[in-house]
Symmetry: C2
Subunit: 386 residues, 2 copies
């Protein structure tokens, strides 16, 4: 039930003192092969953290042998010294494993603009190497714990296929946004797959999972999703099967992120149907997911469909402004852009809320997931730096 | 100090029972001429309220003789019956004044998706006509009160020029967003001005005032800014002078809206300098103004410049991600995208906060104003429908 479920992987999660609580904060995932093909996607933010700047170079040749991750500091906007720390971490992992640093992906998460103590991180890497594969279940569960920040629970997944499997772990609890939530994700598989196929499958999987999670509209600087394939099963799945398995794993982890979003009282699935194109459907759903007024209304259990229409009207999608239908939890409270069923019959108290919009402009559809805007969100993001 | 300060205008504000509190809720502003030239700008939302659909037709010929406004109901997403109510209101005003309904702008504000009782609104129009110009200062202050919704204070302005003046009133306290805040604004002037010159001057004025107010990123469905020129002063100002006076009036009213934004603890002026173009400066400033994480940090008096850089990175503006400078309240906490002055020296307790970003890409600059994200904002927008 972790990144070490597929054959060919060892992992570890240890405490290096980066977190003031003394909790685990350095994780290492190693691909023992025989294959080392890999693919990654990163945040589309232009102001990137140092580990992303490093890892973008690492992944270019499709070969990754290890991923080292730390919480307790994002190493973002920390200047050349911060980049040197990232480089030193990759070198240290490489030295231990007898490989090249250019095959080591580095991920960091935590406070932006604050440099970690380099010696402290490197000591954590040493400890993680010593612990590789020694803990329960090959160390995967420890690694999942070591990447947590404001997460209240570790997030892991396994998808079993015929003779091969996909394992995964994720961190992320706020700043979930378009073009990836603020999150680090490592996926492993013992399938035999080329780097090119992994890239195709991973992009297809993230496009309909992490890319459609929009917790608070804020885009992170450190987001990284990396998949490692060991080939240890000896089985070569078809590209559709590989894509299905990765999509399943990414969607499961995305829903775990959504359920653990900072301060949220509701998980909201916004589905737009009848769109002229899938892009239109995503644009409309995302505009609703980003309306603070709509999100505050859901927090207040108020089925305020007017705020939904006001958001739709800000988009460039194809629709007739006088002929929009909106349902909340299955009840069509708005038909033809005017009141329909009594909103008083919509019960928004359950944690899961659905909003359905019919644009009546075509056959395409898409779902975007978000959370409500709550007092606890404001509290978590005003009382604590991150 | 109101819309009736310039010569040639009468106004009224009365209670018609649309507000459950019994407060004033119908306002009427009449231009007694000799000229009736006018210009207007409206929300760019595609899902428009009925009064906007009506008024867009009214203003086309550059002649407006009266503006009738109601609070207690936005008449938005209320279908054909709602449009019929708007039309009936314009006809009733026209009948009283002996003019055509096509010269009567109608504005409504309040709850979306709820139809007002037509007879109640029309009775309010009758009462407002009877009260025209009879109250203190020609009725302007009463009109300003009658358009309030969640506003805690009425908003009025007068700009005096040599022999002529501009008066104005505004309502708006939330949903302040790009391409106009949620607000109704009536401006009056006794200057002699053609409709074309008024249009040019008004668009120049709103572009740098209301269009740069972004309280919560949510765009309204009812926003209207109308300027009426009576020509009663007999003075024809130059276009630059007219533009200056309208810009002064609009900026003053915009700052009153900002200061009264729902639940805000801070007013934040985000100034981007060193931009390649003014559009770049606005895009960057607006991206920061829309970051819930940044706004929550300001509420918590946390000078979190990392969240500023993370927002800048989401834009397409010209800049070097490794060479951005950020100041908060004049202290440069970030230089070259890395920590500079100690953020602990920034005191964010005062209500007014400034953020300055230097993109080092050119000479253009722009300021966008926003508020912090507070518990009170969440409370106002979750506990009450609007």
């Amino acid at each position: 039930m972790s990144v070490t479920t597929p054959r060919g992987f060892r992992a570890a999660g240890v405490a290096a003192g980066l977190k003031s609580t003394g909790a685990k904060d350095v994780a290492l995932v190693v691909n023992d092969g025989p294959s080392h093909s890999s693919a990654s996607v990163f945040t589309s933010n232009r102001c990137l953290a140092n580990p992303v700047l490093w890892s973008q170079e690492v992944v270019k040749d499709g070969t990754v042998r290890a991923v080292v991750l730390n919480s307790g500091g994002a190493n973002c906007y920390t200047g050349p010294e911060g980049f040197a720390t990232t480089h030193a971490v990759a070198e240290r992992v490489a030295t231990h494993l007898g490989i090249g640093a250019i095959d080591v992906v580095v991920c960091s998460t935590g406070l932006i603009g604050l440099a970690n103590d380099r010696r402290q991180v490197l000591a954590g890497v040493d400890r993680a190497y010593d612990a590789l594969g020694t803990a329960a279940a090959g160390g995967g569960p420890d690694a999942a714990q070591a990447i947590m920040t404001t997460d209240s629970v570790p997030k892991q997944v396994v998808v079993e296929s015929a003779g091969w499997s996909v394992g995964g772990m994720a961190k992320g609890a706020g700043m979930l946004a378009p073009q990836l939530a603020t999150m680090l994700v490592v996926l492993t598989t013992d399938a035999v797959a080329s780097a090119a196929d992994l890239d195709t499958a991973l992009r297809a999987a993230t496009r309909v999972s992490f890319d459609r999670l929009d917790s608070d509209g804020c885009m992170s600087t450190n987001d990284t999703v990396t998949v490692l394939a060991s080939g240890a099963s000896g089985i070569t799945p078809s590209l559709p099967d590989l894509t299905d398995a990765l999509t399943h794993a990414c969607t499961d982890l995305a829903m775990q992120l959504l359920a653990d979003a900072e301060g949220a009282d509701h998980e909201i699935a916004i589905t737009v149907v009848g769109a002229a194109t899938e892009d239109d459907a995503v644009e409309v759903a995302r505009s609703i997911a980003r309306s603070n007024l709509f999100k505050a209304a859901v927090f207040g259990n108020d089925p305020n469909w007017g705020r939904v229409l006001a958001s739709i009207g800000t988009t460039q999608a194809a629709f007739d402004p006088a002929d929009l239908d909106v349902a909340m939890n299955g009840i069509w409270v708005c038909r033809h852009s005017a009141p329909a069923a009594d909103p008083g019959t919509v019960d928004l108290k359950p944690r899961e809320v659905t909003v359905t919009v019919d644009l009546k402009a075509g056959q395409a559809r898409a779902t975007v997931w978000t959370n409500d805007l709550t007092h606890a969100y404001v509290h978590e993001n005003s009382a604590y730096s991150s």
